[in-house]
Symmetry: C2
Subunit: 209 residues, 2 copies
DNA sequence: CATGTCATCCCTCTTTAGAGGGGTATGGAA
DNA sequence: TTCCATACCCCTCTAAAGAGGGATGACATG
């Protein structure tokens, strides 16, 4: 290996402290370096295009453009890009969507340096990296049925506290149809009523406040 | 000032990366040092008792014992302790409770080093530190009426998706009383129904999932 | 072409939610 | 003590919510 063939990393996180921490952690490793720091998704995209890093370490919850959106964009524009998601547990749905979006790995912010560094190296080398516990939750996730886009849309209005009739108006459908969607939401999420549906969806990351 | 009279800081955060970041940040300042690192509230208490730091920098969302609980405990056992809350925006109610719990300051994880370092120095020197935007949100908070402990309790059951009758059973009251509490919750939070009450309470940090 | 999924619409029926009144007992503040 | 907030109880009534059926057109996939 050439001495200057370091793994060039882009980090994207809206928390300044986290960015410092990542830079500090990476700088302890001689074979990697942080070449760009972004505080939001849009900035991450810009910097990726400019720096063309070997690895993008991206937080899920960021302003302007979410980690998921950013990952999708990066992978679309740079199909060879290696993306590792770093987050403070945002629910199974987010993990699933991150991997669907093309991320090769997923690490939690609580994981120690001994776990993080190998993840960085692994994903930069083109391999996948998904912690066992995350993988198992991902498996159990599949036991729940997938919500359709329309159902998610209804769920979002539901979270605002709208009544069926109001949801019907905003979505330009009838109250009957709203009730139908609600019925399938309740059965798919295996909950008893709309309020539990909202909290369950929030916990699983299907919707956000 | 004596050369070795550094500000001795205890940091408590469940995210390893954040702890690294804080250590890295603090180490850039010659007059302060991190003397203890805790990954949860209980550990923070232990280490505080052992190290007796000049300042405790505490995250709000931690396992085992929350930042609020930890702050209350620390302030009870060490009335002279200086506590600075560090968090990723957890809703107005949390900020309010943190300050009620005896914390002298409040900083957001997104704030830059130029803002964080003065906050550390200020609180360690016995002064208060509350960002302007946080202070203004705190003021607007007071326009909402305070929920009683019982109402918060009902709200928590509400978030589980329980029906009025079920809530009544778990709290050993009648359904009528549950409805009464619900009525005052709806009016105090200025929302139309139970579902909106739950999301509003989550946003304001009155309850958590 | 058949099958399946999605989104839409419709009806009935029972239970629940929420608005509107009423009241009592307690314990702290004025 | 008088006042006020809290917590508890009760009743009625209307409008929702949610469970149960059945049905259609669009569109993709086998």
């Amino acid at each position: 290996m050439k001495k200057d063939a370091k793994i060039r990393i882009l980090i994207a996180d809206d928390h300044y402290i986290v960015r410092i921490g990542l830079v500090a952690l990476v700088s302890t490793e001689p074979d990697m370096e942080v070449v760009a720091e972004a505080a939001d998704g849009a900035q991450a995209l810009e910097l990726f295009a400019k720096c063309n890093p070997d690895l993008a370490l991206i937080d899920l919850s960021m302003p302007v453009k979410s980690g998921i959106e950013t990952t999708i964009e990066i992978r679309k524009r740079f199909p060879a890009a290696a993306v590792l998601i770093l987050t403070a547990y945002d629910g199974d749905e987010d993990i699933y969507r991150a991997l669907q979006a093309g991320a090769q790995g997923y690490v939690l912010k609580s994981s120690s340096g001994e776990k993080l560094i190998p993840a960085l190296r692994s994903v930069a080398a083109g391999q996948r990296w998904i912690p066992k516990d995350v993988a198992s939750r991902l498996a159990s996730r599949s036991s729940f049925e997938q919500l359709t886009p329309r159902e998610v849309q209804v769920l979002q209005e539901l979270a605002k506290g709208l009544a069926n009739k109001e949801i019907a108006d905003t979505l330009n459908i009838t109250e009957h149809t709203t009730k139908d969607h609600l019925k399938s939401i309740l059965s798919k999420l295996r909950v008893a009523d709309r309020t539990e549906a909202v909290t369950a969806a929030l916990q699983r990351g299907i919707i956000h406040l």
